[in-house]
């Protein structure tokens, strides 16, 4: 191929792939952020279910985390992707809200990655809650706090700090797992690279570029999490 240069290939605009890559990176980041948040919410529910006194809640949460850890993410994503799109469509059409309804690929992607993340977050939060210690709950009860107050004022803040390293790891996991969404045809960073590589016949160049983009995102975010951990740990160390 003549006239191929690295600068023009990644140029911003009609001639290069720069703008497509920026869009892809933004999609990757927004899918990751949305599924991460969904995962945290599911994880909080999952952890409380796992530690609850109700046997069915415990069983359901255990089934959830075991299934997600034993089955490949790609398979789960396909499964959730197809079932959530058809279930939501059936729901909307069934309720008579619309005659035909296509579920947004972005929503389905976040939903499927978020469900997978939720299982991992469940384990992180469960560990963090256990690490807070029974005596804290006993002290709070002795002081006359209600169960809700104990959770909100005593367990939750302490648990959050203990969960930060685990949550940092999960962010790195979701950032990388978001690449699986390319398989269902959502043009985030990886699929953009595949299309660019195919069009320009330069797979090595475009996939290397994308690999370093992921690497940069991983390195930057792991530094950010270290910073957050040190910031939130400050007052705790002072007392210790």
């Amino acid at each position: 191929m003549t006239g191929f240069s690295w600068f023009s290939a990644l140029a911003y605009g009609d001639t290069g792939w720069g703008d497509e890559f920026v869009r892809g990176a933004l999609f990757t980041l927004s899918i990751s952020v949305c599924s991460y948040c969904l995962g945290i919410v599911l994880g909080l529910f999952g952890a409380t279910a796992k530690l609850s006194r109700s046997r069915p809640a415990r069983a359901m949460a255990t089934f959830y985390t075991t299934a997600v850890r034993a089955v490949p993410e790609l398979l789960l994503i396909l499964l959730i992707y197809y079932s959530s799109t058809s279930a939501l469509r059936d729901l909307v059409v069934g309720l008579g809200l619309a005659r035909d309804f296509q579920v947004n690929g972005f929503v389905a992607a976040c939903l499927s990655l978020g469900v997978v993340q939720g299982a991992y977050s469940t384990e992180v939060f469960r560990g963090a809650i256990i690490a807070v210690g029974k005596e804290q709950v006993e002290a709070a009860t002795a002081l006359g706090l209600s169960r809700r107050q104990t959770w909100r004022l005593v367990v939750f803040p302490q648990m959050l700090h203990k969960a930060i390293p685990g949550l940092g790891n999960l962010w790195l996991v979701v950032l990388k797992e978001s690449s699986l969404i390319s398989v269902v045809g959502f043009s985030e960073l990886l699929l953009t690279a595949k299309m660019a590589g195919g069009a320009e016949n330069r797979y090595l160049f475009f996939f290397s570029a994308v690999a370093f983009a992921y690497l940069g995102l991983s390195v930057v975010s792991s530094h950010l999490f270290d910073l957050v951990e040190r910031q939130t740990g400050r007052h705790e160390r002072g007392h210790g």
Partner: protein, 231 residues
């Protein structure tokens, strides 16, 4: 119950399981073996050895497996196809097949993650072990082989088991580069029959069974090598 459909699904999945297991065994063995020298290089005193290995591990742990797979299959494949000596060599039919690239990518990925596990286990050993071994007159090589590695292995085993289960799950990604393993088998049945849930859940069941077998196998090893240390 539609027996014909389930028979087809079963045989397709059985065909896929063979490739999944082949990949798992090859990449698992090669990756775990490669991880040990990498871990020693990673904690070596020599910067020329430590730094490149650190970069390798950082790269493979910091990028998605799917990207690594594409980079090696499409990227390396492209480079090889542009070299006339390779392109027209009798080896080309083998070099063109996706299986070799998949083995390479998954092996390097597993090696990078397992090397980091080994590093943690080696650095977690008490300093007194090294000092005692050296004062007994052991050669540094004997120190590694007889004192450090067996203890590190025992500490690393649960994490290594987890990593090998992740390898099993990562083999599902090679379906995207045209290899017919369990995931690809499920996708084939799904697209031919439009029965999404049965095909995908069938594959999920296969992975659950394989995960259970791996878990049992690893805890048996853990039990076996932990025996002399229990009272």
């Amino acid at each position: 119950m539609d027996t014909e459909f389930y028979t087809v699904l079963f045989w397709k999945l059985a065909e896929g399981v063979k490739i999944t297991l082949l990949l798992l065994v090859i990449c698992g063995l090669l990756g775990n073996l490669l991880a040990v020298p990498l871990a020693f290089a990673r904690i070596s005193r020599h910067a020329w050895l430590r730094k490149p290995v650190h970069g390798f591990i950082l790269f493979f742990r910091g990028t998605p497996v799917l990207v690594q797979l594409y980079l090696i299959y499409y990227g390396l494949g492209e480079v090889l196809s542009q070299m006339p000596t390779v392109r027209y060599s009798p080896m080309w039919p083998y070099l063109r097949s996706a299986f070799g690239y998949a083995v390479l990518a998954l092996t390097l990925n597993t090696a990078a993650y397992c090397a980091e596990i080994w590093r943690g286990a080696l650095q977690g050993l008490p300093r007194g072990q090294t000092e005692a071994a050296l004062s007994l007159g052991l050669h540094p090589r004997q120190l590694n082989r007889l004192v450090l590695m067996p203890q590190a292995f025992r500490n690393a085993l649960p994490a290594l088991a987890g990593q090998n289960i992740l390898l099993l799950k990562a083999t599902s990604l090679v379906s995207t580069i045209t290899i017919f393993e369990v995931m690809a088998a499920a996708n084939l049945v799904r697209s031919q029959t439009f029965r999404v849930y049965e095909s995908l859940l069938g594959a999920a069941l296969v992975y659950v069974i394989l995960t259970v077998v791996l878990t049992i196998g690893f805890s048996a090893i853990e039990h076996r090598i932990g025996r002399p240390y229990r009272r």
